[in-house]
Symmetry: D3
Subunit: 165 residues, 6 copies
């Protein structure tokens, strides 16, 4: 037997925003990650900009934070959430020519903040792409995923192994 587990669809297959009235308000946290893969020329530009206080990562960080706040406006069936905290961090890996993005969102609410953390990571990555695309249009954004999740009925969840991604 193969039941419908897609909770965002009703019995007839129609999309709906599910009722969360009976869920419990708890502190919920989500951590998401993404990577932007580039050629060595872009990485050199990013390092040079960082050294000179250039605004590339600051711009991507603000874009990510603002996007987290707009998640329910972008993802059709997401519930609106009043976020308590958003952070967006970057790590430049000049060996592998990639930028690693880690976002963290916290809310006290009836539903999780995975989508907010993932949206922040995605838009931060897109902003890096935008600012560097003239140097390397073949950059790719990859491995956008949930890293960890706390709170809610299911409690703590963590991605099993980074190697599996």
């Amino acid at each position: 037997m193969n039941d419908n587990k897609l909770t965002h669809l009703d019995a007839a297959g129609a999309a709906h925003m599910v009722d969360i009235t009976d869920k419990t308000v708890t502190r919920r946290e989500a951590i998401a990650v993404a990577r932007v893969i580039m050629n060595g020329d872009v990485m050199a530009q990013l390092q040079q900009a960082a050294a000179k206080k250039g605004d590339v990562l600051a711009t991507a960080r603000i874009a990510g934070i603002m996007a987290a706040k707009r998640t329910s406006d972008l993802i059709p069936l997401c519930h609106p959430l009043a976020l308590n905290k958003v952070t967006v961090d970057f790590e430049l890996d000049s060996v592998n020519n990639e930028v690693r993005i880690l976002t963290r969102c916290v809310v006290e609410g009836k539903t999780g903040v995975e989508m907010e953390a993932l949206t922040a990571a995605s838009v931060a990555a897109l902003t890096i792409y935008d600012m560097c695309k003239a140097v390397d249009p073949a950059m790719t954004i990859t491995d956008i995923g949930l890293h960890e999740k706390l709170g809610g009925k299911r409690g703590h969840w963590q991605r099993e192994s980074e190697g599996s991604r």
Copy 2:
């Protein structure tokens, strides 16, 4: 010598929206791709939903199209563009348990539509994640990238080989 090639930063490293007044209005097109990787259980649910006319992909498609129109509102240094066309297509690959997303944007304007196509692909992928995350929170969104680009000063550009992504 290593010149600054990051056109979105001025000489002092400050971010700005670059002046496109002197660029030429041409028809510009961009095609972007993304993949959503899931476990077999999610794929089975997606196929079942598709068979029953469930709204998963229709919802993701609308989310992607609407996000394309909001690109300049999300990506800080993007110019506002009046899009002529947006399409978002999906391919379910039940062998590899992935959904492939292909977006296409067209504009007549002074600047390209890469960011619109990439934003549409990203938000469509996030929407699939949102609708299926209860089944598999470890789904990942990967290989978001520009596939092809037409129009503008540089003319035709195409990603060299899909294998290299």
Copy 3:
């Protein structure tokens, strides 16, 4: 004596967003309806699209749900609300050549969700118009109204008789 009962105006007639601090948080629900009246040709297209899994109603449903979340951004004096649930349902009536729309919104809050349910119904109707207007520009949207309302100080309210509309 004819007192001012328009609570959204102050004593001087100026619009304001009224203070709801002293109201009670309760579960509140609103059900709204609308009808889209069309000619037989549009109805035939809608039925054909439904039979072939075409995206007309799925698109209108998503538009309605997203609009519900944006109500306080559209209606100047509406309070922002974190909706718990939104559904948008359609009924094709091929005898009368009309689509009936029924929306349902739920919140736990200090103010009702009538405007959210009505906005969802209106935007879902406008989206159907948009997708079918090439076939029949004379389609009309009619009888947008509140059908039922639960919760809040006044408790249950229901439209007296559909015939009276």
Copy 4:
């Protein structure tokens, strides 16, 4: 034979934003109408507010104008348009206890402004409902429709007879 005339669906029934690249830029105008039907008590309040310079209709007018500018953000498959003009006018009919709304939008572009005029009329009507709903929750919004349309390939179109609505 019954061909698909729903241009917003592709051959597979998927929604898309159609390509308007090959259409001609012309001046396009659309006039839309709506009616808000209320009881005598609301009408008395509206007249009293108008006499005392109360902000009901001014608020609804601004809401309608701002909504017109946000049409492509609300209606999924609408193209973004840079509107040249928007007006929203009201007529209080105290005999029939209704407010008549007439909106007018102008653009120079490749696609019409029907949806902008209809969205302005709908949101202006919803705003009147919002401001008066405490007096009469049974108010209805009705006969939202296109009244006239100029410009574009099809040229002038006018609703045949007001009586038929």
Copy 5:
């Protein structure tokens, strides 16, 4: 010793949305002010418009109220807030040829509403500028500031003396 007191920056100087989880929910209120300085010709037009029920101040009031609701969407590190109340008031000073704006926002939440009140005042002032700029482009908006603040850990705060501004 000169510690970092800019709470919106982390130890490395990166911007973030600070965690308010541990703060207390209280009723919070903020009152902000602004002045628009104009020449006598604009003031005469404003008075004439007011006498004839013209929509200048009504439009600015609605713009201010709507902007208050959008504050967290405009100011990157502001937390989203569900406002309980917003008012925007104007005083025409025809001796000094200025319009004084006073805004008041109330929330029950974990963080203050200063930014909402200040954003409402700024956008109301910009709207007056917009509507009158054809008569006097040299108008200035000045003395946007917090006037008073209630609630929260620090309790009551009031600007010391209006003369010092």
Copy 6:
């Protein structure tokens, strides 16, 4: 005789978005300014943040640029414009304890970009206030005004004397 010069009001005093169809498309530029006045403690923090590459001004710059793009969504009667360029610059004046903001917007269009430049300046100033308000809630934003304007029917306009502000 004192004619109505407020072009945003019609003969009856109702607000409307004026028709710009007959205006000429030209390159238009606007430069706006604003000042944020603070105490010495805030200025010291800003200088320290700048020395350590802290994100205060980068954040305010991005907020200003994004706000410029959203001007027609905030100011009710502004026409939507596809901006060609936006810059936001800051000057720290540690003698007078103030930050001076200068914004510059360019468009090719039928209407000017004053409101976009003024909105960018206002929101950049509000963002500085937000990030520093914990140190000095009495900071004020002042002298928001148009500095210079090029293009359009009236051609070049420049504020007469900075001293008069």
